[in-house]
Every structure is written in C-alpha cells, then in structure tokens.
C-alpha cells in the first residue's frame, strides 16, 4: 500500500501526486495542514524529523525527500518509465532535480511569501506581525521585518526573483532543442519542475513566459493538458490560499516585471 503525507500548497508534496497519476497508482492520503502547524505534531515528527511534507509510506517503509521518492517510485513501479532511457539524459534529468532542490526551492519560498503569504500575517494585525518577527533569533529580526514589510521591494526577494527568472531562461534554452526537459520524453525532471512553474502561474506571473519564452509556454500548455495536472496540482489546493495568491500576485505583477527589466 502507498500512503502519502502531503499538503495542497507544498511544491514538494505535489511531486509524488503527479507520479501517482502518471503511473496510475492507487494511494491513500494523509493531509498534513502545514498552515495550522500539523507538521510539528509528535506523531508526524517520528516519520519526518525535518517536519516537512511529503513523506511516503510504502508497505510500512518510510521514504522521505520528494526527489528521492520520485526515483524510488520509478524503480519500484517502472511502467510507464519516468527516467530517461539513456544515462546521459538521466544526467540531464538529475541536473534539473538537483537544481530545484538546491537553488529554486529556497527562492520559491521567498517569492511566494513576499508576494502573497505575508499578507495573511499582516491581515491578523500588528501584534501578530511582531510575534512573527520575534520568533526569529535576534540577529535575523531586522531582515525578517524587512521581508514582511517590504515584500517584493526587499533585496532578498528581488534576488530570489532573479534566480527564478534565470531558471526559466535555462528552461527556454533547453526546450528550444528538445520537447521535454531531459530529452525526448516526459520524465522526473517535468514532475519536479511542474509545481514550481505552477506556483508562478498561480501567482499570476505567467507573463514571465507568455510572448517572451515560446518553448516554455508551449511546454507548460502541454503539462497542463496532462491528466496528472489536476490531481497533482489543483485538487488539493486550499481555496482561500489560491484566491490570496491570485489577488496578490496580480497586484505584484507590474512591479515584478519592472524589477526583472531593470537587470541588476
């Protein structure tokens, strides 16, 4: 039996859901509400000491880390394969998934917070904002306050936005020469990247590719048409969070465009 501990907005938790759908695997979900802090519950910490989602349980065995889970599921359920057929294409696939984990993942958290999620904290009043700032160690508080007050004007948020933009530029280059990120077929590179592009789409930032990055735009159209898109990326998203991201993202777009056009 396959069991997944997951949440609707987590980019990493979406990856195994996409794999399940691509491979037509039945699974049982355990929803961990990370907005309410359920990932810190003692029972969950036993499964996942880093208190993050997802966690996969396969016949009682615990597997953590979405990238590792993806490779695992493909080895145990090889049909249809989600790893490219040649070792060199598998290198390309792993370069994408590695870059997601080490470079894009931290940037995504910063960008999402700067554009959208900080507003959910601000809406609860100055006392909640202060509490949120003071949760950080003293040396980090000024930076944390800047992040909540300045949003996308914060230098750290702008740097994260540039990381994202470079990533999209590299996707465009790759997709100009091949239909998929790791060569001729859909692979775990797509599974990994889809939630991050979807995040930008949810934040109404699709202007980062529409009209300017045609191969990426075409790739994303094809990804959204796959049967794995809805169960992977739409079905579990909390409605109010989706609405917040849409509203605040649309507001932020002119500024995002101006920041990226200014270079730097």
């Amino acid at each position: 039996m396959l069991e997944l501990y997951h949440h609707g907005t987590s980019v990493c938790a979406a990856k195994p859901r996409i794999v399940f759908a691509e491979k037509h695997l039945d699974w049982v979900g355990h929803y961990v509400d990370i907005i309410k802090g359920e990932q810190f519950a003692p029972e969950y910490l036993k499964l996942n000491p880093k208190h993050v989602v997802p966690t996969l349980i396969h016949d009682g065995h615990v597997i953590r880390e979405s990238t590792v889970i993806g490779e695992y599921l493909d080895e145990v359920f090889p049909d249809p394969p989600l790893k490219p057929a040649t070792p060199l294409d598998r290198v390309t696939m792993r370069m994408w998934t590695k870059r997601l984990d080490e470079e894009l993942h931290p940037a995504t958290g910063i960008v999402t917070y700067a554009i959208s999620h900080r507003h959910a904290v601000i809406a609860q009043g100055p006392a909640v904002v202060d509490r949120w700032v003071n949760q950080a160690p003293p040396a980090d508080r000024a930076r944390r306050r800047s992040r909540i007050e300045n949003g996308i004007d914060d230098p750290e948020a702008q740097a994260a936005l540039r990381v994202y933009d470079r990533f999209l530029a590299d996707m465009e280059t790759q997709l100009a020469g091949a239909p998929y990120l790791a060569g001729p077929a859909f692979s775990l590179a797509e599974v990994g990247v889809m939630p991050y592009v979807n995040r930008l789409d949810m934040l109404q930032l699709s202007g980062l590719w529409t009209g300017t990055r045609p191969h990426l735009a075409d790739w994303w159209r094809r990804m959204k048409a796959r049967p794995s898109y809805e169960p992977g990326l739409v079905k579990f998203l909390p409605k109010e969070l989706g609405e917040l991201m849409r509203a605040k993202g649309a507001e932020a777009w002119p500024k995002v465009r101006a920041i990226l056009n200014s270079g730097g």
């Binding site: 396969h58 065995h61 597997i63 953590r64 880390e65 990238t67 590792v68 889970i69 490779e71 695992y72 080895e75 145990v76 070792p87 060199l88 598998r90 290198v91 792993r94 370069m95 590695k98 984990d101 080490e102 040396a139 740097a159």
Partner: protein
Amino acid sequence: MLELYHAGLTTCSKKSRLCLKEKGLPYQSHYVRLDRFEHHTPEYLKLNPNGIVPTLVHDGHVVIESGVINEYLDEVFPERPLRPADPLIRARMRVFCKMADEYALPATRVPTWTRTKSANLKAMSDQDFERTIHDTPLVDHQLKMKALRAEGFSKKDFEEAYGRMDYVFDRCEAALGEGPYLAGRDYTLADIAILPYVFAFNLVRKDLFESHPRTREWYERVMARPAVKATYEPSGEAPAH
C-alpha cells in the same frame, strides 16, 4: 575514454575520484589549480559553466556535479556496483547523497575557505580582486569571497556551519546503528559522498568522533579501503601544495 578535471583538495573532487578508483576505472587526470583560478578560464568554463570542480568528460560527453557524476559512472559501468539493488536501500543511499550536497558542503566551506582562500584573496590588489569576482560564475561564491576579503566569515556563519556538522554526524551515527555502512550492508555512493566531509569536519572538530563512536569506527573502516587510501595519499594526480 574517461577524463576527470579535479582539484585534489576539494571534497567534491574526492567524491568522484573515490568512485572511479573504487570501480577500478582508468581515467586521465587533469589537475585544476584553484589557487591560480584555472577553474575560471574560458576553456574550463566551456566544460563547466559554474566554474567549479570536478568535471567528467566521457568520450566527449561532459558530466558535472560530483553526485550526478557518480550515479552516471555506476550506471554506465555497472561492474563493482556502488548502488544497492534494493530500491528501498537505494533511497536511503540517495538521502545521504543529498545531505552531502545540501548540508555538508555548505558547512565545510566556512572553515576550509578560511584556511585555503582567505590569505590569497586578502593579498590581492583591488583591481585583481574585482576581476576575480567578475570571473566567478556563482553568485553565492562571489558573496563568500567578498566576505573573506573583508572581515572573514562571521561568528554566525561558523555557528551555522558547526550546527550542520553536528547534524551530519548525528545522522551518520543513527544510520550506522543498523549496518557497517551508511546505507546498510554494503559500501555505496552514500559512504563515498559523506566520507570527504567527515574527513574535513574532523580537521576542525576533534570532539565529533568522541561523541559519535560508530561514525569513528566507520571512518577507520572506510579509510582502510585501497581506493580510499589511493585517493587521500598525495600523488602525482593530486599534489599536496
């Protein structure tokens, strides 16, 4: 033909050499002098746009990133396998490989760069330093080099690095309760990924082996392997300078 561009002292270069030697694969060694910034030359950047070592060239195909290189080598040359056959144990192996890249590597840079790069960066003229920064592709490396030239890494940087070292040793100690090697019964890419960091951390944190006896035993066990000895001994391919 296999060619490896590497620098003897770096943890990531050691990872790929450990894998090549363990599998008994002959390769042509290209030693890259980091102190002369040979990794920032236009010729090298064509192979490795990030300007870091190692880089593997296999029959003309370029593969970068030590963890990716090692999985590639094990796929293309399956003799003397370094990945477990069981997917579950392989997942355990990959968690350690990820930990090496995401936790251990950033931790080792703080003491290691202080020791190996700081004096060199401080001795440069402003003009040379500006050019060096300009030639450094990774923004993260630019920031660290600027910090080293100014006042060095902060107390907070060291605290964070030491915390990461504790974490890596704790994870090793827990895993080694189950098997002689990090992923269990067999010596795998997990051991290869972690060994250079345990070696490097031990240079600055003698306390860690005392509080992590199983990790110390594991270290002694793996250091006795011929391939590991050959990687760590100063030799023509990796001079100690």
